[in-house]
Symmetry: C2
Subunit: 565 residues, 2 copies
Amino acid sequence: MRQSTYLVPTMRDVPADAEAISHQLMLRAGMMRQLASGVYAYLPLAKKAMTKIEAIIREELDGIGAQELTLPALHPAELWQESGRWEDMGDELIRLKDRHNRDFALGATHEEVITTIIKDGITSYKKLPLNVYQIQTKFRDERRPRFGLLRGREFIMKDAYSFHDSEESLHETYWAMHEAYSRIFSRVGLTFRPVIADSGTMGGKDTHEFMALASVGEDTIAYSDGSDYAANLEMASSLAPEPPQSQEYGLLEKKATPDAKTVNDAAAALGVDPDHILKALVVFVDGEGSLLLLRGNDELNEVKALHELGAKEMRMATEEEVVDLFGATPGSIGPVNVNNVPIYADHRIHGMETIACGANETGYHYVHVGPGKDYQATAYKDLRTVKEGDPSPDGQGTLQFAEGIEVGQVFKLGRKYSESLQAKYLDQNGKAQTFLMGCYGIGISRTIAAVIEQHHDENGIVWPVSIAPFLVHLLALNVKNEEQQALAEAIYTDLKQAGIDVLFDDRGERAGVKFKDADLIGLPVRIAVGKRAGEGIVEVKVRKTGEQLELSKEDLVQWVKEFAN
Amino acid sequence: MRQSTYLVPTMRDVPADAEAISHQLMLRAGMMRQLASGVYAYLPLAKKAMTKIEAIIREELDGIGAQELTLPALHPAELWQESGRWEDMGDELIRLKDRHNRDFALGATHEEVITTIIKDGITSYKKLPLNVYQIQTKFRDERRPRFGLLRGREFIMKDAYSFHDSEESLHETYWAMHEAYSRIFSRVGLTFRPVIADSGTMGGKDTHEFMALASVGEDTIAYSDGSDYAANLEMASSLAPEPPQSQEYGLLEKKATPDAKTVNDAAAALGVDPDHILKALVVFVDGEGSLLLLRGNDELNEVKALHELGAKEMRMATEEEVVDLFGATPGSIGPVNVNNVPIYADHRIHGMETIACGANETGYHYVHVGPGKDYQATAYKDLRTVKEGDPSPDGQGTLQFAEGIEVGQVFKLGRKYSESLQAKYLDQNGKAQTFLMGCYGIGISRTIAAVIEQHHDENGIVWPVSIAPFLVHLLALNVKNEEQQALAEAIYTDLKQAGIDVLFDDRGERAGVKFKDADLIGLPVRIAVGKRAGEGIVEVKVRKTGEQLELSKEDLVQWVKEFAN
């Protein structure tokens, strides 16, 4: 492709609101333009990279027997009302009325639609399992679109849905997709982790998010430096400490801690390390008053707590409710002599030898409290938010934190949608059964941005070979020099004939501008035709390593082919 | 692909509202499902055919230097307001509000959006010409969606837009696209004509529609049986007859024709052929009262008349206006002694020797009227709707009519959008100039339907090889027979390894069901593994010709490869 008439409007300055480096670089490299907040046009360079990502996705998914289809973007409201998400999605779901005043949603995701199609199309267990996917534009009216393609309102996704007649079959497809996703993200050049995630309101059970590690991101992930363990911070666990071998505690003693509202106040008043004070939180778990205990320096992780307690919702007690239940204000609460509510203690308390805690008398704390001696926890649970350096829950290595960009997710949906939309098949015995389902997404536009977040330097993008818009950037350094021009044209022809994707900078710009643009656009191989054109010699530079070498025209094609392999 | 778990829900009965054969066959062959009126899901078979069509389009467009990009579907209302189409498109444009109550349109077409992008991205004539395209979903809220994919509310289009600094450059790209379209439609197997079309409200000049000939269609086209001439009926011309050599007329004579309101009434009253009576229509052309003359059997073609008279609008006069201008009621109007309004006569009147017409006196007609003797036409124009059998306007052959499905259109837009959106570039002299534009569309979903309209028989679809979802349909006739099953599996492996696209009917259905489904789905080659499996012999049938032959497993791959070439 000749750059002189190629739509790649590079920019010097980027809008101030482009925070993420991928957003800045894609604007500067002429890959995208904003049309409205969170709504972008993908210019030819971006489209080419996206096409390569899509080809990789299709290859991997077709390879495990998934079938491509295309579902519509206009969804009759009734489907979303049946599933309950017409309400649940709130403002994020884009709604419209047709000329007959009928309500529609714009496809934010396609569980409802595919379930309806399968409900009418598949009647027998014989056609199961089924795994279908599409690559398509999705619409979500994000409250705060940002980071360019990382969080847009219109974006391109690969979404897949699978249908099963048994948990085993769902499990098998779930892991086949998990592995395919790992291959896909490896092939596009991402450093990523499949992390254990919260199934949240999707109503399913198992779910992994594929997180590309990055310096910008909307999620923090915790991963082990000694194993494959990785989880979203909201789901991450650490190894429970062993209880101490000997448990000899001092005598329970009550001390005045006037004005101590917080753990740190109490620690100062008592002269003990805050981590040796119990943080006692009074909460209502599915409506039942409960006492949660954490070490003073730890924070409650509500998502984990809900999972651990098998509960649907949790809220903090008001001060009145605390006083009502414990006879003291929140700063002075503790587990000693409590028997009107269950006591759930974080598993890190297991490892404590001596301890201080509120005395359930406003302005007083106990010291030398012995877990098991002075109070009995109803159960030990994993309730806290992990910290960097915690031991990994699998016992291998310690936890590290990283920012992550969610580029994919695999999800066991179970029967949430097939039940609400009454999608059934007949089993071997001719009995109607509700489908088991899985769903699986990859954010394609987001993946491009994530790749650029991981692959750039101060001069621009550094494309991985697998998804580079072109493999080679051929520069004619001085188009007015006939010798250089002729050699560049000849090389352009050679490369094209060899099937090599090449962008030919044939513009009448100065060499300096061309080098700068080449670094910015970041194609893997740069071939500059300059002063030694008369000898048929050109300069080759590898964008990633900076390696430079001189090659003759005759050796170029061979070298490029070997480089790409 | 194994049919046992392939999503191809074939049907026996089709909904009564599926009028078009393509619609019926796509439903029956399990290729599509309706989600709402005019909104369809493309199931895997349709998706595969569409992917092949898209590959052909990309190859041809990339071949002439067009660049692929992807523009968003959410369009800020301001863009459509600037172009004036926010009003002009009426209910056809789907509108919505985002969570901040801002107005958006759903992309029905992308002139506004691409013009905005180019306005910001291209500043110099040096980057011209530019030709960009996308393959994408479009949304138009049709008043009456029908014929399945032939007229939907959500459909898949390839749309392209070109930008130029001269008429010559626009003309060159226009014809390059015209030729590329011809290659594309030939390659997908369509019998089609590029027809001269009305530029209508799009505001441009030259335009051709690519019409697939069909028995169902929303447009009638007139084409010559002796040349390449073809036009939409609303734009079709016929050859103007030569004026007669000698013009000897009888004496003008007035005759009573009481109660004659129509040409046929008058013909009966006068005892002459209706085609020898002037049909005189009083109209207002851009507000000016005018008399239009046609032969009695001809019909006014308003679209052509507007073009011929260089006018913007035309309306019929009311009875009062007719009486006011001519002193008689509409049934008795004629050109004799008329000098208060211009007289535009259809060119077919040129060839008339004697003639009757209204006498401008209610209830009276003249006979023996001599054009040129008894009245003088202001001008002879091409005003009538052509008829089958008319001489082709290029003098070669006669006109035939056919129903047509518009599968593509090429259009010289001129400066309509670049002017309204103020899109300018700097020319060689550094002067700001408004872009010249062209736009070019292909209805991809509609093309599939058009192909099926042309390629089917009473048993089902008959896919052209170029876009068949699979090349081969392999049937294991009796999966319980181990010999047959083993041979079918071996052939499946052979074909796949040879890179041949094959659908393997491995279902536990009866042979009769499999044969019926194979005919319905209509893949080019059917290979049935049946009774002679023991000898390694299978039966091959060519869907299109019905040709059958027996081949050994060893010869199959070679035969299929040769067939496909």
